[in-house]
């Protein structure tokens, strides 16, 4: 029995926790580092856990709930839809923030093996009581500690895509981006708890982890999985969250949080380690719905090919260039577009499942064999020759059955049924799942029976009927029309007329004593069964994205390379490895051919592996895809320098494919080149597929260079075979290597910006960041002139929590401040807390962005020595 006193105590405790866990004022150090990554780096980053996450939310259901309450009793809640939406948005932010704080503080443990087992049982059987009990116990234990917990998490309500999401729009930050970030951070950011001046229907929350444990990269995916599990439980059961729900505390827990919000990493890192399976690909394909409404996606297809095929079709594409319209857009508009498309797709998918279930239930009483027998009777009773509508519907069903059988259309393919049968991916509740397991084989069996039985009927009609009567394809279903890909030009009949079919004198299948008509005729019933089969496939393909969610969903919205990398369609190290391999090969070839009268180089360059298709495998109920690579894996290039023969600096090159780089000696200058494939450089990127349209299968290039090289080449012509020849070959090899190093897309490049360092530089320089700060700020350091010193200062700050006020370096043997190339030296760093310099030996190479501490920090000054001894290791920043 819960007494009033107990209830009051719970409310007091919850309110106290709510206040203590609410965020104090935010500053620049409240945000996670911002990582700018190019394509290859983005692919690599997807294997790392995110530290900044966006919560995409639609408050429609909360608002509608407020409206529904007002309908029940206008006095309670008249006109409170906006109040409900705002409270809901705040409660969502509070739930995630509270759980994340307790996890990072160690008050809640990460899910251990036992909890993961319970979670797995809960997801597969939909029986979650044991898991809920465990989580409840762990939550209770965390409550006492939480009263004194520090803030580890930041939650802001983002009204406009800004510099805090600038990395979604470019892969290298510029000085103006730094200034924009500085200006933004100089103002206070709206926290998730704050009330909003605008309606809260469409919202975007940003949750940042500014300080994480050192091993976060290895535990981060567990962290997010734990967070999602605890948050689902807390939404329904935690007293603190109930308190945050205010007057809706007895209602909001009935909103399925998992269905209401979508998590997306704010950048290239991931929330869940990407794998190449249907579930992940389906979730990541949601990205297409964040594009403008006119952009078609597989979600709208009647009979989707599946996200794995879309992955191959689109191939490599752009990233970190604002391809989802994130450049300064108002987030409300952005979320509105996404939610509208997402909700529509989800609505259609759920209607399909509902319709399949109805078909399955009447198939329980009426077998497919009976249907074909009854169709035969109809053919005898109602002459299709005298009944053009009947003939037209027969023609439509014959075409549909043929499409389903035709291997070219790949509908009745083995993986089709695998997808259907993987009930766990359908996102159904326990009772639905039970029904579904009975339903699936029934529908599949019925389609096979119809396909088999109708074949002789259709063959007979083709010779006896269709050659004599006039008919059309007005009754052809949308899915068949789509699969015919424009071959059927006749317009479809209006949907209701089409579904009802030809007007049989009496209805064939009815319910409720004839009051409700299910099918007008046996042939209409057959069409329903065929459509149910197709619908079931569509629902199954997208079930992870659109189906009923039992855990919070996350999608790599801004990083298509998450799945491209996971499915091995894109290899982020390929360009780097290839450049290194080619340098070695070219040097060896130059050495071997140096003795020949004419320098001839034969090269074998491995091509970026091309995935041509996927093999489907069922693994623990999940559908996994294994890439099958194309056989063409080498590019063979034959290069000859004609200089020695012609006396002119000219060369020819043949390659067995288009796009092979052509370079005489690789030294810059005025060069006249011609290639038969007209393909000088890589196609400019866009979000559609890139560079796949060239029809050229090979290239023949020729060129002459008129510059300093000419002279060199002329000398080369006269030079005897031997070391000098080798030198020219080596020059070409290094030159091509340097060019390969300049590949800004396919060699991993990243920049990191720490908001607090930018904010400090901005305020210290009176609202403007000077150009000299750019190199250190975009490398994640404070604004110090020397990169090596700035790097060392950052290490000191991370280790001790002190703040560096100045940092310089004395290079060994020289006194210059800025170095290019590898060098060693001693850094001297000043902090406010002591009167001397803190020093350390370092070696670094700013060009290659390499840095190494070669000694611990130490100091001559007593106060600095004492300070260093007192300082404790801190977290990672």
């Amino acid at each position: 029995m819960v007494t009033n006193a107990t209830k009051w105590a719970v409310v007091c405790l919850a309110t106290a926790l709510t206040l203590s866990e609410a965020q104090a004022g935010l500053n620049a150090s409240s945000f996670a580092p911002i990582e700018f990554s190019n394509r290859a780096q983005c692919a690599l980053d997807s294997r790392l856990p995110a530290r900044s996450v966006l919560v995409v939310g639609d408050g429609y259901d909360a608002g509608r709930l407020g409206f529904n309450i007002a309908k029940l009793n206008a006095g309670v809640s008249a006109g409170k839809e906006t109040d409900a939406m705002e409270t809901y948005r705040r409660a969502v932010g509070f739930t995630f923030t509270t759980v994340a704080n307790r996890l990072l503080a160690g008050h809640l443990p990460l899910l251990d093996q036992q909890l993961r087992g319970l979670l797995s049982t809960c997801e597969s059987t939909k029986k979650c009581r044991a898991l809920d009990l465990e989580l409840s116990e762990l939550w209770k234990k965390s409550q006492d500690q939480a009263l004194s917990s520090a803030q580890h998490v930041t939650c802001i309500k983002s009204d406009r895509f800004s510099a805090l999401q600038g990395h979604l729009n470019k892969s290298r930050p510029s000085l103006s981006d730094l200034n924009e970030l500085g200006a933004l951070l100089s103002k206070s950011q709206p926290t998730c708890e704050q009330s909003s001046p605008t309606t809260d229907r469409f919202f975007l929350l940003q949750i940042d982890l500014p300080s994480v444990p050192k091993n976060f990269d290895s535990i981060g995916f567990d962290f997010w999985r734990s967070l999602k599990t605890y948050a689902s439980w807390a939404w329904r059961s935690a007293p603190e969250v109930r308190a945050a729900m205010g007057r809706y505390a007895e209602l909001f827990p009935g909103l399925a949080l998992e269905d209401e919000v979508l998590l997306a990493p704010n950048g290239c890192r991931a929330i869940t380690l990407p794998v190449c399976d249907l579930q992940r690909l389906s979730l990541d394909a949601v990205r297409e719905l964040a594009k403008p409404p006119q952009t078609a996606s597989g979600f709208e297809a009647e009979l989707p090919n599946g996200p794995q095929f879309d992955l191959l079709t689109k191939g490599s594409r752009s990233v970190a260039d604002g391809f989802l319209g994130t450049n300064g857009t108002a987030t409300e508009e952005w979320v509105k577009n996404f939610s509208k498309r997402f909700n529509e797709a989800r609505w259609v998918s759920r209607n399909k499942l509902q319709s399949v279930a109805r078909t399955g239930s009447w198939l329980n009483q009426l077998s497919a064999a009976t249907l074909t027998e009854d169709l035969k009777r109809d053919l005898e009773r109602f002459s299709p020759e005298a009944n053009p509508e009947f003939a037209s519907q027969l023609a439509a069903v014959c075409v549909e059955a043929r499409i389903l059988r035709d291997p070219q259309f790949k509908v009745l393919r083995p993986d089709f049924e695998s997808v259907l049968e993987s009930g766990s991916t359908l996102g159904l509740s326990a009772s639905e799942l039970k029904n579904q397991k009975l339903l699936l084989p029934r529908v599949i069996e019925a389609v096979k029976t119809i396909g088999l039985n109708i074949k002789p009927i259709c063959e007979s009609l083709e010779s006896s009927l269709f050659s004599k009567v006039s008919y059309d394809y007005g009754y052809l279903s949308d899915w068949a029309r789509e699969r015919m890909n424009g071959l059927v030009s006749q317009k479809s009949l209006p949907k209701e007329t089409r579904v009802r079919g030809w007007n049989r004198p009496e209805p064939y299948l009815t319910l409720s004593e004839g009051k409700v008509e299910i099918c007008r005729s046996p042939i209409a019933c057959m069409q329903s069964v065929l459509k149910a089969y197709v619908d079931l496939y569509s629902v199954s393909v997208w079930s992870a994205a659109l189906g009923r969610a039992h855990r919070l969903k996350d999608s790599n919205l801004f990083n298509p390379y998450a799945e491209l990398n996971a499915c091995k369609v894109y290899d982020p190290w390929f360009a780097t490895d290839q450049a290194n391999a080619m340098l070695t090969q070219r040097l060896i070839t130059s050495a071997l051919t140096a003795a020949l009268p004419v320098p001839i180089f034969a090269e074998f360059e491995s091509k970026r592996p091309q995935v041509k298709s996927f093999n489907t495998k069922i693994d623990n109920g999940a559908i996994r895809f294994e890439p099958e690579f194309s056989d063409e894996s080498n590019r063979r290039t034959f290069f000859a320098d004609l200089g020695p023969l012609t006396g002119a600096p000219c060369a020819v090159q043949y390659a067995n494919e288009a796009g092979a780089p052509f370079q005489v000696y690789g030294v810059g200058g005025v060069t006249l080149n011609y290639c038969s494939d007209n393909k000088g450089s890589e196609t400019e990127l866009n979000d559609k597929s890139e560079g796949k349209t060239s029809a050229a299968r090979r290239s023949i290039c020729g060129g002459c260079t008129i510059n300093l090289t000419s002279a060199v080449s002329s000398i080369a012509a006269a030079a005897p075979a031997g070391p000098i020849r080798f030198a020219f070959g080596a020059a070409r090899a290094f030159s091509l290597y340097v060019n390969a190093q300049k590949d800004e897309k396919n060699r991993p490049i990243s920049y990191i910006v720490r908001p607090e360092y930018v904010a400090d530089a901005y305020s210290e320089n009176r609202g403007s960041i000077p150009a000299r700060c750019e190199p250190s700020l975009i490398n994640g350091f404070r604004c110090f002139e020397d990169l090596c010193a700035a790097n060392a200062a950052h290490v000191l700050e991370t280790k001790t929590g002190l703040r560096a006020t100045s940092a310089g370096i004395q290079y060994e043997g020289e006194s210059t401040f800025t170095q290019q190339g590898p060098s060693s030296g001693t850094v001297g760093i000043r902090v406010n807390e002591c009167d001397g310099e803190i020093m350390a030996r370092v070696s670094c190479d700013p060009t290659m962005r390499r840095f190494e501490m070669r000694s611990e920090f130490s100091a001559f000054s007593r106060s600095c020595t004492a300070l260093l001894e007192r300082s404790q290791p801190g977290g990672v920043r």
């Binding site: 029940l72 979650c128 007057r247 499942l353 509902q354 109805r358 326990a430 409720s512 009051k515």
Partner: protein, 204 residues
């Protein structure tokens, strides 16, 4: 023993009064201590009717609507069927007496889906809601569809159409279309449930 005897007398009193009473069924939202709650109530309006008195010691019985897990929104398949395709998905079976309605509502974990419903995330207007289906199933446009919840408080199936009018209520049992009847002898099952679950602990 005393409890059992009391229970028997309670049952007998209900059966004796069964033919004379009329009921009113309502759902309302109230705000108590700053929290909105949804309450259901049965009002015994006819003279000589004793069921409310017996169950609740008053002229009406009131109980909170249980929290239906994941029911606010358009994701639940059972509620989706109720709002969008009630009649093709379910069919009305036999008429149910007032007495049986009371039993069913109080002995099963049930949510009441009204025409002006808390759970309606599907229809823009009331005309497009469950009103036409209620008219087909039990003869009036006002009323409720009773939906049973499972152990996790998730809906499993609609099982009762209850039409309400100033004269009282009229109800019909529902079953999924195409499904075989699940309870051949539901009355005996109900009695068993009553004896096991209600046990002289009427809602207060």
């Amino acid at each position: 023993m005393i409890r059992a005897a009391l229970f028997m007398s309670f049952l007998l009193s209900i059966f004796a009064a069964a033919s004379t009473y009329a009921l009113g069924l309502q759902q309302n939202a109230v705000e108590v201590d700053g929290v909105i709650r949804v309450m259901n109530s049965i009002h015994c309006t006819a003279k000589g009717e004793t069921v409310c008195e017996n169950l609740c010691g008053a002229k009406s019985c009131e109980w909170p609507e249980p929290l239906c897990r994941d029911c606010f929104g358009s994701g639940d398949a059972v509620l989706r069927d109720v709002f969008q395709t009630l009649v093709p998905t379910y069919e009305g079976v036999e008429a149910i007496t007032d007495r049986q309605v009371v039993y069913k509502l109080l002995t099963r974990s049930t949510v009441l889906v009204a025409n002006k419903s808390l759970y309606d995330f599907y229809n823009g207007s009331e005309d497009a809601g469950i009103a036409p289906h209620l008219q087909t199933l039990c003869g009036a446009r006002d009323g409720f569809i009773a939906v049973e919840l499972d152990d996790d408080n998730r809906p499993t199936s609609a099982f009762l159409a209850i039409c309400t009018s100033p004269k009282g209520i009229a109800a019909r049992r529902l079953r999924p279309a195409g499904a075989a009847d699940m309870n051949e002898n539901e009355e005996s099952v109900l009695k068993l449930k009553l004896s096991n679950e209600l046990r002289l602990s009427p809602p207060n």
